[in-house]
């Protein structure tokens, strides 16, 4: 008990220090932006304003490219859309003229709608396809802007909106745009540091695991596409006013490239990095005037260099915390006894039942008419030779495969076939044969992913950092830290997961699964690659989980572990049950001994 209550207090002070350290560079940039008017001339006001406007767009796009990992390369289209929408509404050549402050939100709404439409393909298409579809959209918007003369003025163009005093001077407008940029930074940081931001990274780097924790990719992506679309269109409105007069020529594809590359130079999953990237790319051609014509070429070279030499971007350069060497003699010492204090839900009393489940791949019957039952609190071992259908069985239960025949039920309720994202709500969690971990996130964040569906706050609440969202964060952080303690890894909570050892990743996966307080936990070869000491500790941990009422289904090749901890064992061979019973029965079962155990 003492350890669990002591940990949060210690971590809170550390959190505060961490947060202020994270905030410092943003405050520094903001302060520099505030001072700029007093140390420079109107020319720099223009460049500063431009950087601020670009950042309004990039801060939203960053969630798509940097966090969700979707290569949206045509975002100049949404800037164009916002610029024309605002200008047309203010000029009143279609509707009665509107005030610019009324036109901007409307442009934002239009941008959000189109952002979602452009984003829709990302729900199904792979990287290059999605990149192409955004590129295609950009081409089309440019053509429409040119051809729809009655509204956009065609090649002649249209006057940009004018802002009233005090925003009608260069520096007045500069401050307005910096204010917009600051608000956008705050909004996107709120999302990035909420369960939504973590879920985006989870979808990017470990999509299968994200589904198992109940993260719904479509909802998550549409939310950020709406948000990024709105910001891009608002940036467009501001951009149009800065230009004072817009033609389709103002929105070259080079701008898209600038936005996109600013994020990649900045680094994925970071906010500070892309912000610096945006500033650098905006200022760079100005300082080196002869380079202006070659700016896109320069961006492209930078992109190539970043991709080939430094895939982490600026963010990795700044991440000095993760360059400190880790202790090499560290051991995983789980504290299973603390498990009871982390769990709030009481265990269910329903049995997980498979009835007559059959699944073939081509002509191979991977599992054939399989019946299986896992009771709450039971440790059920699933063993058999390679290719006997063990992992396939887990995948059918978690909904990655749809059984051709048979049902999977929880008590009397039949589980939806082929819907992996619904399993978490039913209290079924799992780990994977090869740990599916987000390498770029810390161990703590990886564990927090497991509790994503327990969050109460909506996307909007998270966006505005309303109390419910802050409560979610507090709850998830506390629980994840406690569970890291249970699996014995709390010392590594803030370390990037890709720096950890294989065995540590296995325990992180278990901690992530435990975030759900699952009624059933499916473990796919949890002991693979563990040392014998670690296997003993794993056994104690598994026992503690089962004592709490969770039913475990354990696929494993370590016969000793299986016979040591299991209450029941099912042996599969060629997709069929060869034998089922207590470990003592199985150990002496003739066919099992000859087909699998040997001896």
């Amino acid at each position: 008990m003492t350890a669990v209550t002591a940990t949060p207090v210690r971590s809170e002070t550390r959190d505060w220090r961490g947060i202020s350290l994270q905030l410092a560079p943003f405050l520094g940039i903001f302060a520099a932006a505030m001072i700029l008017p007093f140390v420079s001339n109107d020319y720099w006001a223009l460049i500063g304003t431009r950087a601020a406007i670009y950042w309004v767009l990039v801060s939203g796009l960053n969630l798509i490219v940097g966090f969700a990992g979707h290569l949206a390369i045509g975002y100049v289209a949404l800037l164009t859309l916002g610029a024309y929408t605002t200008s047309v509404l203010v000029a009143g050549n279609v509707t009665p003229p509107l005030n610019v402050f009324a036109a901007l939100p409307i442009a934002g709404a239009v941008g959000a709608a189109f952002g979602a439409i452009v984003g829709l393909p990302a729900l199904r298409l792979r990287t290059f396809y999605f990149a192409m579809s955004t590129l295609g959209f950009a081409t089309i918007v440019a053509q429409i802007a040119l051809a729809w003369q009655s509204v956009t003025g065609g090649g002649i163009g249209i006057a940009g909106p004018e802002f009233p005093a005090p925003f009608d001077t260069a520096w007045g407008y500069y401050y307005l745009c910096v204010a917009f940029a600051a608000v956008c930074t705050w909004l996107s940081a709120n999302i990035a540091h909420s369960r939504f931001g973590r879920a985006l990274i989870a979808i990017r780097d470990a999509e299968v695991a994200a589904e198992a924790t109940g993260i719904s990719k479509p909802r998550m992506l549409i939310a950020i596409f709406l948000f990024a679309g709105a910001l891009a269109a608002i940036a467009g409105g501001l951009f149009a006013s800065l230009q004072t007069y817009i033609t389709p020529d103002a929105f070259t594809f080079d701008l898209s490239v600038l936005f996109f590359i600013a994020i990649l130079i900045g680094g994925r999953g970071s906010i500070l990095g892309p912000m610096l990237g945006t500033i650098i790319l905006t200022v760079l051609p100005e300082v080196a005037a002869p380079l202006a014509a070659w700016s896109t070429f320069l961006y492209a070279v930078l992109l190539l260099v970043i991709v080939l030499v430094m895939p982490g971007g600026i963010a990795t350069l700044l991440d000095w915390r993760n360059r400190r060497p880790l202790a090499s003699n560290r051991a995983i010492v789980p504290r299973p006894a603390e498990l009871a204090e982390c769990f709030r839900k009481s265990a269910g009393d329903k049995t997980l039942k498979l009835r007559g489940v059959t699944l073939s791949f081509g002509n191979v019957r991977a599992i054939n008419n399989l019946d299986l039952g896992v009771k709450p609190g039971e440790i059920h071992g699933l063993i058999g030779p390679n290719g006997s259908g063990k992992t396939t069985t887990l995948n059918v239960i978690s909904g990655y495969y749809v059984a051709e025949a048979g049902t999977i039920g929880l008590g009397d309720r039949v589980l939806e076939p082929g819907m992996p994202t619904l399993r978490a709500q039913r209290g079924i969690a799992r780990t994977f044969q090869t740990p599916r971990i987000i390498g770029e996130a810390s161990a703590l964040q990886n564990v927090m992913i497991g509790g994503t569906i327990d969050g109460q706050a909506t996307f909007i609440e998270a966006l505005l950092a309303l109390p419910r969202s802050r409560r979610d964060e507090h709850m998830l952080t506390k629980k994840a830290r406690a569970l890291l303690g249970v699996v014995g890894l709390e010392a590594l909570a803030d370390v990037r997961a890709d720096r950890l050892q294989h065995s540590e990743l296995r325990f992180i996966e278990i901690a992530r699964a435990l975030m759900l307080e699952p009624g059933f936990l499916l473990l796919d070869e949890p002991a693979a690659g563990l040392s014998s000491d670690e296997i003993e500790r794993l056994a104690a941990l598994i026992r503690a989980i089962s004592r709490r009422g969770t039913g475990l289904l354990l696929v494993e090749h370590h016969a000793d572990l299986i016979f040591d901890i299991c209450d029941r064992v099912t042996v599969l061979n060629l997709g069929r049950i060869l034998a089922a019973g207590t470990p003592a029965d199985i150990r002496v079962h003739k066919e099992v001994v000859s087909a699998y155990l040997g001896g």
């Binding site: 990287t127 081409t139 990649l264 492209a300 190539l304």
Partner: protein, 285 residues
Amino acid sequence: MFASIIASGLAAGAIYALVGVTYNTMFSTSRVMSFTAGQLAMLGGVFGSMFTLKMGMPLLAGFLLTLIACAIIGIVTEFVAVRPVLKSLDQHLYVLSTLALALMIQQVAAIKWGTEPQPFPRLIGWGSGVWDEKFWLPIAACAITIAGLEYLYRRTLVGRAFLAIAEDNFAARALGLPERNLRVASYALAGIIGGVAGFSGGELLLAFFANGALLNFYGFVPVALGGLGNNRGAVIGGLALGLFQQAANFLVGGIFSSVAVFALFIAVLLARPQGLFGFSTARRV
């Protein structure tokens, strides 16, 4: 009008199909889709016009030099943007590296060649009206290229080696095929095909740096529709796209035709992400 829709549609479609084949040729040996495909076709036009009009070379010499130049760009693509990222294919870094290279090519073309479309010479001078060579030349080029590729893939050892690598890279390497050299060769071949597309379509599209981005998209649509790596699908898809686009162009006007193409592209891909003639085989867990 009907005849001119057919003529311009098939001509544009043949160019799209050739760019699609360029994508496929690069994809088959490397599993990489490269943004340079459309740029190669753009360069076919720009180099062609530069060698023949600006430098005044004979047509045949200009044509061959264009193909050589495009083949070199193809090889450069392999060395600069593909080989370094092949190790981590699953991270899709090739999208970024080939995009970077494509942007460099486009920017150099824009600065060195100029941002205005420039004329392309008349090559043969046969035909007028709907039988003008600017319409039938791309179609003929497409037909000859496809026939040549079929011959290469079915009758020659090198072609069979290409197919072996496309089918199963590891098995091909285990058999002792020089996988790396064949990949370089396929990128050179892709460069040549792109060059042919640009050269034969030069009179239709002119020598214009912005054609690269346009052909990147319109050449990718048939690949996406026809299924990745499927040349037959790319040709059918390309011709259908050209006809559809030109018909829409004549009937409802330019903007709506591109909107229609885009909508079609998205709709088909959402319904069948593997393309109309493709198969889905991926296993995720």
